[in-house]
Amino acid sequence: MRLLPAWLRASPRLWSGVALLGLVPLITRDAYVLQVLSLAMIWAIFASSWNLAVGYAGLKTFGHQAFFGIGAYVSALSAMHGGLSPWVTMWFGAVAAAVVGALVCLPLLRIRSLPHLAIVTLAFAEIVRILCSNLVDLTRGELGLAGIPPFTPLSVPGLGLVSFGPADRASTFVLIWSCLAASLAFLGWLVRSRTGLIIQAIRDSQVAAESLGVSLTRYKLFTLTISAFLAGAVGAVYAHFVLVLTPTSALGIALMVQMTAITLVGGIGTLQGPLIGSLVLTVSAEGLRMAGDHRMLAFGVLIVLVVLFAPRGLARLDLLFGRPSQAAGAAR
């Protein structure tokens, strides 16, 4: 065990869960199951990026759907018009989101008031959505951007050429699972690192952190940039997975509501929370779809119920997941 890095030893349940999830394609090749779980993992990565800003750094933003959408559109458009492989363009999307994230952060650095932060980030995301739906020549607006190329086939030693088209659900599942594992490993390492501890100290008390010589500006800027980068990267993966984008589906407020529900239900400020929330919500939403499309209603009700009765979320129900996580101050 000593050989394993600390972040891996810290949450054995999470990593066994992630490993089990990776075995799913060995058990079933059912396209529908793999499709639903792939989407759930995309939402889990997206919610994790938001969780880093909100749950760990206490930056209560409501505009992460903009980073997701920027990543998705930048990657899709540069792959379509630039003729580049999505393996390359997804990093364009991530970097574009990170740059925009840093720019948005600048005016927010001076503000410590929570409602102002919430309003400005939401307004910024709406500006991006309006831009996207009005620039019809570029994005085709609400008609939807179709014809996005999937990830190009990859030559894997031992397996030959592996393609990731709409028919190859199993390989796409493994691709997205790898993104999930990489993101969670990175976040798990980050939140336990010195930087991560400083970020959590800022969440717990900006004044205390500042008085100990922490540069609030630097660490807030760092957190939001990293968080936006991750959201943009997963947005790009989403674009090359679903192959159609509309401003509503990739940038809309509904996306933010879904992400909020996922994070709160799973447990805000925990590493495993977004993944648990996403699996529970996405799978049960598929079940609900049989009973009419009231997914949003379910998300709304869940958000209200969770903040009222279980503000720590599923991840910290001790019965299910053992000892409570150390990030106890996250709800603040």
């Binding site: 309003i119 307004a123 910024f124 900006q206 709160l264 009700v301 603040r332």
Partner: protein
């Protein structure tokens, strides 16, 4: 064509749109000022007001004035219920500044879906309250739009009178400035919070009702107004009533001129850009106090 006459017409239109923003923002600011809660469900009270009035008018076949009264009362009760079930219990918990935002966001989604199930997604409309055309300083305006302008001025004046000169209004202001001291003086703080929430929701509902003849009534009609109201409260200073009113009219005019300069699909973007600029240059807004630590 940016002739002076055209500009003047745009300014008048801006004032009319702005009066609706002022009404929405006043309610939002009242709730923030009294209980430090940012109400994400405020737009849905705007929507409920319009639907309640429509139902009272068409289904119950009430005359217009009683229909409006019934709708306002209905929204008041709905808002008190929302406050009682979500905001009030959360305010007794830790971390309520964020949890109330999340909860009201959830409530807004729930109310949209309830409206969708109850009234469907068909766009509907109320008849004009008044017919005819009025000439205002050389510009021809439908009487309904002038009515909106007048109604908002009267309501805001009434609200100011209520807050300034009645015992109830003094109790609201006492709770706003120090809830604990107000409780110690025998004011029932939870009841004042509930009533304030209800009154603020009625202001939003009134905006929805008087706009109902002009815009389409649908379950999602509350989303653009609350975004505008957010812009206005930041512009005017969160918690400041004069800020909400003046900010509302100001935003209405800026938007109208922006639409004249670009085109109408950029209306929302103009408003939201104003917000970003205000946050850059003067985060506390025009009339705001220094911004509190979150």
């Amino acid at each position: 064509m940016m002739t002076p006459m055209f500009l003047w017409e745009q300014v008048l239109n801006g004032l009319i749109a702005g009066s609706m923003y002022a009404l929405m923002a006043t309610g939002l600011s009242l709730i923030w000022g009294t209980m430090r809660v940012l109400n994400f469900a405020h737009g849905e009270f705007f929507m409920l007001g319009a639907f309640f009035a429509l139902t009272a008018f068409e289904l119950l076949e009430l005359p217009l004035a009683p229909a409006i009264a019934v709708a306002l009362l209905g929204v008041f009760l709905a808002a008190v219920l929302v406050h009682r079930v979500t905001v009030a219990p959360l305010m007794r918990q830790r971390g309520w500044d964020f949890s109330t935002i999340a909860a009201t966001l959830g409530v807004s989604i729930v109310l949209q879906d309830i409206a969708l199930m109850t009234w469907g997604e068909r766009f509907q409309s109320l008849p004009y309250f008044v017919e005819g055309i009025v000439h205002v300083a050389g510009v021809r305006l439908p009487a309904q739009r002038v009515l909106i302008l007048l109604a908002v001025i009267i309501v805001v004046a009434g609200l100011v009178t209520l807050l300034r000169f009645t015992r109830f209004g003094m109790a609201i202001r006492a709770v706003a400035s120090d809830p604990e001291a107000a409780s110690a003086c025998g004011i029932n703080t939870p009841a004042i919070h509930a009533a304030t929430f209800g009154i603020a929701a009625m202001l939003a509902a009134l905006a929805g009702i008087i706009l109902a003849p002009i815009i389409a009534i649908n379950p999602w009609m509350g989303v653009p107004p609350i975004l505008k109201a957010f812009v206005v409260v930041v512009l005017g200073g969160l918690g400041s009533l004069p800020g909400a009113v003046i900010g509302g009219y100001l935003l209405g005019i800026i938007e109208a001129l922006g639409v004249a300069a670009f085109s109408s699909e950029w209306r929302e973007a103009v408003a939201l850009t104003v917000l970003i600029i205000v946050i850059w240059l003067r985060p506390q807004g025009l009339f705001g106090q220094r911004i509190r630590e979150a």
